[in-house]
Structure formats: C-alpha cells, structure tokens
C-alpha cells in the first residue's frame, strides 16, 4: 500500500469515525455491512455476532523448548544432549513429561514415531468454584488432547525465509536487533520487521473493525468502550491509527498482597471493576456537576499548545468517562451479571490439593487478568461490544538464572496452564468458546544450551493458539503446525548455543488470526507487508 493509499485509508476511517459518532453508520457504509454479513455467515455457533482475540504475552522470552518437548526416545536423546543433564543441565526428565496426542495440519499423522509431551506443570488440577463446589480443571495437556489447542513450532521474527546456509548472505534482510528484549517484543507486536514502527497489528485490525461496536447502551453522557483493552499496561500491539487501547487492571486480592486461603472467585471479584474512578469526580458531561467537578472538566482541555498536557487531559477524560459505567456494570450488585462460576484464582487449592499452596506460589496474576477478560466478554451486550482484542501478560520468563527450580520456569508454566484452563472453561460456561481465540506471544525462545543455572536469549520458539474455533484436531488430539527443528546444538536449524532460526514467521501466525477476525487478503497484506515473502498467509490453524 502506498503512502497515498494509506493516507486515503486514514481519511476514510476518520470520516467513518465521525459518521459512527452520529449513529447509523452501518447502513451508510456498504463495505462494512458486507463484512459483517460475511462474518455472521462464517461465524461458528455460540454467539455468532461476537469475535475476540486474546493475546497472552509471555514477557522475558519463554524457554518454549521446555514447554513442548519431543518425547520419543530418538529425539528426546538429542534434546537431552543439547539441554544438558545433572547440575546446571536444563533437560526435563523424559518420564515426567505429560503425553499429548498431536497430528499435523489436516489431521495428517506426524512423521514416523514422533511423539510429544508437555512440561509436567501443564497437568490437570482441582479448584473450588464460587458456590464452594470442588471442580476438576483442565491443564494444557488435557485441552490439547481435546483438540482445543494448536501448537506452532519454531516461529519467530523473519523478513524473508532464512536457513542456516543462507543466514550470512547480506542480500537477505534480517529482523533488526535480534535477541534484544524490547526490540523483539515490538516486532511481535507490530507484525512487521521494521524498527520502531508506529502501530501494532492488533491496533490495525481494530482500526478496520471498531465501527462494529456501539456505545455502552444507556450511558449518559454517551460513552464507547474502546475495542482494544489491555490488562497489562501499554503495549504497541494494540495501537492503531484510530484505535487507542483502553487500559484496565486485573483484580487481585482486594486487601492487597497474596491471596488468602479459602477466597473464591465470586467473592473476590464482586467489588472489582478493573477500572478506577477518580474519587469524588463524576464524568464530564454528567448533569448537575458541582463547582469542583465543573472546574476540573473545564481544565481537561486537550486543545492547548502543549501535546503532553493535551494527552494527559485525554487520558483523564477517558478514565472518568468509562470508570463509572464499568463500575456500575461490573460491581456492586448481589447478582452481579458479570460473575462466573468458573474458578480463576483457584484460591481454595490450599485445601483441594495436598501440598500445594497458591499463596506461597505467588498467586496467579495471569488468571486475575483473564478473569476480568471473561467478565467483560460476559457483559459484551451490556457494553455494546461485538469485536474485541484483549491483551494480558505474564512476566518473569527471562530465566538467565534459577530456571529449573519449581520457583523458576515451572511455576510460570503452571500459571499459564491454569490460567488458560480456567479461561477456556469460562468461555464454555458463557457459550462463547467458538467466538474467542486465545494465543501466546513471547519475544524469543532461549538458548537450548545452559549457562550453568539458566538459559540466554534465543530466537525462534513455540506458541499456542487455544479456542473452539481452532483447528486443533479431533476430540482426542491436538495439532502441531510448522516444522519441528533439529535440536542439535549448531545443527541444521540453530546456532552454536541452540538459538533456533525460525522456520515459520510470526507474521504468518498473526495474519491467520487476523483473517479469522474477518479481514480480507488485501487488508492482510496492508498490515503484514512481509507475509507474502512466505509460502502462505494462512497457516490453517483457524
């Protein structure tokens, strides 16, 4: 897309935004109407009118080759030799792996004898729900075996396909600043390998879809919840030309600190809206503001000569405008509509699982964030939402040291598995498991080779995609997409310490998800300018 075309698109969207503000835009924009009907047709059962992506970002660089692991003897031996055993070694014991059934794309059998297992932290677990009922909860191993998870192998940032043989060819462009946390994170967010590109692919997808959402019904003054919502602070992923993400917070222990034994999900969340109101100040535009409120609203002028002042005013105005609505919708009533039975925090694990204490385990902030995502999805009609892109995050994956003890990577993998298990179950409870697709991103995987206590920065890794709409496989197996790399150090697919050269581009994963959200091939090519350098813009996992 040329610069001119891009400007034209922006102009269109600006005009479009103005139109939607006046209402009834849908009938005036045939293109969107077509898009909506196309979506409705292809929408799976459940809530045909709703679609959402949930990005789970694993910050720090997840050592994903200790998440999904080859289990057959031949390849396990290669894995084990590269990761090392004994003190300082990083290999996960073969006998401890949770067996999973995987097939290839289209249900094809994997190459002869290939078997996989998941890290033991991905096991099933038990929790107590809002009504005090003991509930068996699925971990990632079970969800995979039920066909709800697709695993994407050796995926990473690439401009063009690269191999070890041609890596040093200067004519082939490489992603900028490989191995650097913040730079690689931004490449995943951008969906293109341009240093410091302004927008994220989630933001650009939302630029094309946000018009399908409506203002919060009954809100006065009329208020619209942005399509993109972050529970993990600012991130480039959700930034679009038109769409600026709204930032909320997960609901931790209302008293602060670690969770308390016996707390259960409903009690904990009933008074938490994930947003914070400015105490004593109602939204500007509300009837009957007092003198202080009126004065502050007067000062929230975003049209001064100082851009930072303007921006601060805008953030505050958005905050004040939305907090009241969200508080009304998400808290305070006995029969709070947003609450679910599915346990998220698993706080009663203290009682349910011998020897396991969630409080001592540091809680599960990812589950707290996903619980809020589930509550917003549950309130989608009341919030006027038909399309959403959510962003949640779990940090701590930069395991240069202390990777192997339970408090290192295993605990993080346990948090992912349990948070995703709860979230999937909540989607089923709401009947929208086919309308919501969850996926992980992480800036890079890590060196297979140990530094004595952990691993260093790598490149290609493994991500998962979870949901009812995922071509996960059958009721008895999940699927593996992409090529499993040779795990020999400095082998066919890696550098000296086992930094993997990706064989699938993250752009391909992102474009596949964007297609599922309803974007056309032309739109896909605009957002992912490099994806045509690869064999397909649709990996087929959706």
């Amino acid at each position: 897309m040329s610069r001119q075309q891009r400007e034209a698109r922006r102009e269109f969207l600006k005009k479009f935004a103005a139109l939607t503000a006046c209402g009834s835009a849908m009938s005036m924009i045939p293109q969107l109407k077509l898009m909506q009907s196309a979506l409705a047709q292809s929408s799976p059962e459940g809530d045909a009118g709703y679609r959402a992506l949930v990005c789970v970002f694993l910050g720090g660089g997840n050592d994903a080759f200790n998440w999904l692991i080859p289990r057959d003897n031949t390849r396990y031996a290669v894995y084990q030799a590269s990761r090392g055993t004994g003190t300082g070694g990083l290999a996960i014991d073969q006998a401890s792996l949770l067996p999973i059934n995987l097939t290839g794309p289209g249900g094809a059998a994997l190459p002869g004898g290939h078997q996989y297992g998941l890290h033991p932290a991905c096991a099933d677990w038990t929790a107590v729900d809002r009504n005090g009922v003991q509930t068996a909860m699925p971990g990632l191993a079970s969800l995979t075996n039920q066909g709800k998870v697709a695993w994407l192998s050796n995926i990473g940032s690439l401009v063009v396909p690269l191999t070890k043989a041609n890596f040093n060819n200067p004519a082939l462009p490489k992603p900028p600043q490989l191995y650097s946390h913040n730079d690689q994170t931004n490449l995943w967010f951008q969906g293109r390998e341009t240093a410091n590109y302004r927008y994220g692919w989630g933001g650009q997808v939302a630029d094309l879809l946000f018009g399908l959402n409506s203002p919060i019904p009954g809100s006065n003054p009329v208020t619209t919840l942005p399509m993109n919502i972050s529970f993990a602070g600012s991130n480039r992923f959700q930034i679009g030309d038109q769409v600026v993400p709204y930032q909320m917070s997960g609901c931790g222990n209302p008293n602060g600190g670690n969770p308390v034994a016996g707390e259960i999900v409903g009690q904990n969340f009933a008074n938490c809206s994930g947003s914070s109101a400015l105490s004593g100040f109602r939204a500007c535009g509300t009837a009957g503001l007092n003198a202080s409120e009126a004065a502050l609203c007067d000062l929230l002028d975003n049209n001064t000569s100082n851009l930072m002042q303007n921006e601060h005013a805008s953030v505050m105005a958005r905050s004040m405008g939305l907090a009241g609505n969200l508080t009304t919708l998400l808290t305070g009533t006995v029969n709070n509509l947003s609450l679910l039975n599915t346990p998220f925090r698993a706080l009663a694990d203290d009682q349910a699982v011998a020897g396991y204490n969630l409080a001592a385990d540091g809680g599960n902030s990812l589950a707290e964030q996903l619980a809020m995502v589930a509550r917003l999805i549950n309130m989608r009609t009341q919030l006027g939402q038909t399309r959403n892109i959510f962003f949640v995050s779990l940090g701590g994956f930069d395991t240069h040291a202390a990777q192997m003890p339970d408090t290192g990577q295993p605990r993080l993998l346990r948090r992912i598995s349990r948070a995703l298990g709860s979230f999937y179950r909540a989607l089923v409870e709401m009947g929208v498991e086919n309308s919501v697709t969850t996926f992980t991103m992480s800036e890079f995987a890590r060196t297979l080779n140990s530094n004595g206590d952990g691993s260093d920065h790598g490149w290609g890794g493994i991500q998962l995609v979870m949901g009812g709409a995922v071509n996960g496989g059958s009721a008895a197996s999940g699927r593996l997409y992409g090529t499993w790399p040779d795990m020999t150090l400095n082998g066919a697919d890696s550098f000296s310490r086992g930094q993997m050269i990706p064989t699938t581009a993250m752009d391909q994963m992102a474009s596949t998800l964007s297609s599922w959200m309803g974007l056309t091939p032309t739109q896909i090519n605009t957002i992912f300018p490099n994806v045509d350098n690869f064999p397909t813009a649709n990996l087929g996992f959706m």
Binding site: G59, G60, Q80, G84, G86, G88, G89, Q177, Y179, S180, H181, N182, D183, A195, G203, S230, G233, S234, V244, Q247, M248, G256, S275, S276, A277, L278, S279, F281, S292, A294, A295, L296, L299, D301, S305, N306, L307, M308, Q309, N310, E311, H312, A313, S314, V315, R318, S319, M320, L322, A323, H400, A401, T447, N449, S450, N451, G452, D453, D456, R497
Partner: protein
C-alpha cells in the same frame, strides 16, 4: 516495646532531626560567602527559582526558593555538590538491631520518601534517583532489602563522581550481580552425562551495553544515529555478546573472612562488599589467594574491533580483564550522547533539541579540565543549559512521574513527618502500603531492567504522530491515572494538620499559610492570592490565566466561607483540582 527498640527509635529521631536541621548550617556558610561576592546569577523571580527547583530537586519549598534567590544558581549547585550523602542502609541497619523487628522493602521505600522529602542534599538524592532509572536494580527479583538499600546508597555516593568509577562500582555490586545473574558465572566447562558444555551467562554483557552505557546503535554527539547506506550502524551483534559474557566470569560474593570459603559456598558472605574475582586452591574447593579462578582468561574480541588480551588465571588477571572491558565500554563514543539524553529526560525535558544533547555530551567528553565522565559537570550542564533555563519552547518539558508528584506536593505543602512508630512502620513518612500498585512506580522496584518506562516510549496519538518521546506516559493509563490521583489526594489533601481521624504516625501537610490568606474577606481578590501562592509552590508560577480564572470562579460560585472549617474546605477544593489538572501534570 523493648528498651532496645526505644533506643533505636530515639537515635533515629535524632538522626532525622539533625538532617532536617542541616540546611541552617549551609545557610550560615552562604551568608558568609555572600558578603564577599555579588550574586550575579540569581533567579529573577520566585517563579524562576521554583522552576529550577522543580527540575533539580524533589520539589521546591518556600525556604529553598528564598535561599536560591539569595545565593544564585552557581553557589546553590556548589553547595549541593559538596553536601555529604544522606543514606538509606545505615537507617535500616539501625532498625534491625532489634531482633524482633522484621524488615521489609516497605521500610526501604519509606526511607526513600523520607530522604526525598527532607534530606538537605536534594540534588544528590535526585541524581541518584535518576541514575536508578538508568542503572536499574530492583527488589522484584527477590534481592534482600538491605542489599538494594546499599545499591541505592552506592548510586547516592557516586552521583557526583566519575562515570567510569560508577560503572565499576555497579558492576562489582552484589545487587547487580544478583539482578543480572552474573554472580558465580563461570568460564565454559563441561558437565553431566552425556557431557554438555556450559557457557557463560550473557545477561549482564548484553544489558551493560544496551542499557547502562551506549545502546544498540552508534550515536553522533547529538544522539542522531550514525548511518551507513542509510541504515543505523549497530554497536554489537550476538557474537560480541558471547565474547563479552566471557569477561564477566569468575566473580563470587565478598567475604568478611576467606577461611573455609569457596567460589560456590556462602561461608562468611557479606553482600554489602564488592564482588571478588575468586581464587581457589588446586582442587577448586577452597579459597587460595594465589590460586586459579573461574574467570575465562583467554583473549576476547569485543565491539569496535577491540581485543582484550589474554590475562593470567589469577585474581589480578581477572580483575584487570574486567576493568579493561569496563574501560572500553566507558570510552565508547556513544556513551556521552546516550547519557546526555537520558539525564536530560530525567531532569528537564523528554524532547531535548539535538544541540542541547550535544552540549551536554561535550561536557561528558571533557569537563573543561580534560576529564571524561565527570557527572557533576554533566549535571550542571543539563540544568544550566539555555534550553532548560530559558522560556520553554512548545512541548519542552516532561510528564511528572508519580513519585515526583508526591514528593513535590509534600515539600510544597510543608509536610510534617509522622512520629516514628514501632513495629512494621518505624519511621514511616509515607505509609507506603499500596504505593507500588497505585503509582506503578516504586523506587528500586521496577518490573525489569527496562525501568518503569523507556526513553523511547511514544504515547500513541498526537505525541507519536509528532514523533515526540514521552517516557513517563508509559505508566499512565485510564486505570493508573485515577489510582495515582486518588492516592495523591489522600496524602496531600486529606491528610493535613488539624484534620480529624489523623494518626500520629502519618505525615501531614500544613494549610496554615493558606488559611491565613483565606481569613481575609471571601472574595475574588483573596481567592486569587490563594491560587497565586499555590501556583508558585506547585506550578512554579506557570499557571495559565484561563486556569486561574477557572479556579477563582470555582470559589466565587460558592458562598463565601465564614469559618475556618469552610476555608479549609475551599483550600482543599482548589488543591484537589490543581493536583488533577493537566497543567500541573506536565513539568515545563
């Protein structure tokens, strides 16, 4: 309460009292000097003085505004440069004298706010805070509270020293070695069955270049990227990381006594001591001063074509290798613009002009006496530059970060320290419970080595469209802005001397000066005086006419107050709206 605690408390109270009192001492010195020299560089107005103090300290006070006007910028800076450091760890060490006392990171953060609010060496404290956001260490990695405090003290002591010395002190600190995981990092070795080669941890090698010295791409003196064929020139690649990682090997913790100690054990460990290139006996089981080390002593090819020669496999060889690498890092041509830009961003503006960066970088290269990396000279250049002292151009300035909003409110409003308390909140200034979540910024508590926000962060929307940087916006969002404001309001508006329900341990602001103004007739003139006084103290006189009018009208729209309770209510109303206002939020 044991007798011991009581003693500790009174010692602490005394220590606090002495520190609060010390500006009087400085003032005597000033008056003495002022008899001999005319002050030629004094700020022309209270507003100008307050603006400088907003940039250079944790917030202006009436007393400090007057003092700066009396002695001028140069002498004020000289005095600040010569003040001894106010430290954190000695304070915590006092607290833990009582074995029943349980120290946690909240006590350290309390002490941080106490120093920010009351310590006389304001510029040093502020510089240490700035450095703590570049040379990041945090207690989020499970590092002991006193070790983090010692790191904070290291930055405080070294704040006006030389960059190369600072880089060495940081590199050998146990806090950094734990945080970036190079403690007990070893030269390559084999282990396990089948045998695997273990290679050195690359963590510090990477971040010391990317974040602590020169960054990812080569910079000109004005911070513009050096280009080759239109593309920025990278400073290193992953091979260089692996080479430099071999330098940071062989270090183990310092010991009070090396008898029966080894590289791997914790016998006699003292985490407050610098790390040691640990020499051992021939069995690698015990310390031996003349023995071999776990350092990789072979030569290394690092950035810019520099080769570090092979060294002897000894404590001295290891030390010389690490120091040679640190020399090379500190001498990299991109260090001066890298630090010039980030220090400017911490003190005066998020978007300095290239010329401003270059002027400061030039001082980094040469302080005028041929010394490179003189942080005192660099800081003076940051604060006294024409761009910082002149009338601010459009978009000059920075979003105030939450910590600085809090401290500037406390200082402006003459906060009174709460009574030292026993138990978990001894000596608290801030009751810091919740300060991490509500501010999203806990000193020495950053979520990662990338600080609370990054220097290149661009807030989406008009700021990004104009290609401006806005680091502090990275932690400001629709949730956090309200939480922050609610907390600021609680501490600066609700917790005041004379309010009901206050506890003796709470820090309370004082409305006395404003009450005096408000005791005049309740009309626009009186309200104007109130607002003008707050404008000087909180907004260095920068309040727009429109904002002043809005605030005056807010009060005149209400019945004139007839009681002191009414008057306090009006003061609090004005204060609240100022604190929440966009004009206060941005330091210009």
């Amino acid at each position: 309460m044991t007798l011991q605690i009581r003693r500790a408390c009174s010692a602490i109270a005394l220590m606090g009292a002495l520190l609060i009192a010390s500006p009087a001492f400085s003032q005597t010195e000033t008056l003495f000097r002022a008899n001999f020299e005319d002050v030629t560089d004094a700020p022309a107005s209270d507003a100008e003085a307050a603006r400088f103090l907003t940039q250079a300290t944790f917030g202006p006070t009436r007393a400090e505004i007057a003092r700066l006007r009396a002695i001028g910028y140069g002498q004020w800076l000289d005095q600040q440069f010569s003040m001894p450091p106010t430290l954190t760890r000695p304070w915590l060490d006092q607290l833990v004298l009582d074995p029943a006392f349980s120290l946690n990171s909240g006590h350290r953060v309390d002490r941080f706010y106490w120093q920010a609010s009351f310590a006389p060496d304001q510029l040093r404290q502020r510089m240490a805070f700035a450095l703590s956001q570049i040379l990041v260490v945090a207690d989020t990695g499970g590092i002991d509270t006193r070790v983090v405090a010692e790191y904070a003290d290291l930055l405080t002591r070294s704040a006006f020293g030389n960059y190369r010395t600072l880089l060495g002190d940081v590199t050998f600190s146990s806090a950094m070695a734990q945080w970036l995981t190079y403690v007990r990092n070893r030269a390559a070795y084999q282990t396990g069955t089948p045998p695997t080669t273990i290679l050195p941890d690359e963590n510090y090698a990477r971040e010391v270049m990317q974040l602590f010295s020169f960054g990812l791409i080569q910079r000109n003196m004005d911070f513009s990227p050096v280009l080759s064929g239109g593309n920025p020139v990278p400073t290193y690649n992953n091979d260089i990381i692996a080479q430099l990682a071999r330098v940071f090997t062989g270090l183990s913790y310092g010991r009070t006594n090396f008898t029966n100690t080894s590289f791997g054990n914790n016998t006699n460990v003292d985490l407050m001591l610098p790390m040691v290139c640990f020499p051992m006996n021939s069995n690698n089981t015990n310390y031996n001063a003349t023995g071999r080390t776990y350092h990789d002593f072979a030569s290394k090819a690092i950035f810019n074509g520099i080769t570090l020669p092979a060294v002897a496999d000894s404590e001295a060889g290891c030390m010389s290798d690490i120091n040679a690498a640190l020399n090379a890092i500190a001498n990299h041509s991109s260090v001066p613009p890298f630090y010039a830009r980030q220090l400017i961003q911490r003190f005066t503006t998020s978007n300095p002009s290239p010329a401003y960066i270059q002027r400061v970088a030039n001082v980094f290269v040469n302080n005028g006496q041929g010394v490179r990396g003189d942080l005192r000279a660099v800081l003076r250049a940051v604060l006294m530059d024409a761009e910082a002292r002149g009338t601010p151009s459009a978009n000059f300035g920075k979003l105030r970060e939450p910590v600085l909003r809090m401290t500037s409110l406390w200082r402006a409003l003459d906060v009174v320290q709460g009574q030292p308390e026993t138990g978990s909140n001894i000596g608290n200034i801030s009751s810091t419970i919740g300060f991490s979540g509500d501010f999203g910024q806990r000193p020495y508590g950053s979520p990662s080595v990338f600080n609370f926000y990054e220097p290149d962060y661009q807030q989406p929307g008009p700021i990004q469209t104009q290609n401006l940087y806005s680091p502090e916006f990275q932690i400001l969002n629709e949730s956090s802005v309200s939480r922050m404001n609610n907390l600021l309001r609680s501490r600066a508006v609700d917790w005041y001397v004379g309010a009901s329900g206050m506890q003796a341990t709470w820090p309370l602001v004082s409305f006395a000066p404003y009450l005096q103004i408000m005791q005049q007739p309740g009309n626009a003139t009186t309200y104007g005086q109130l607002i003008d006084e707050l404008n000087i103290r909180l907004m260095y006189g920068s309040m727009s006419t429109a904002m002043r009018t809005t605030l005056v009208n807010m009060l005149t729209a209400q019945t004139a107050p007839t009681t002191d309770a009414n008057r306090i209510d009006r003061i609090r109303q004005v204060l609240r709206v100022i604190i929440f206002s966009p004009e206060f939020a941005v330091q210009k």
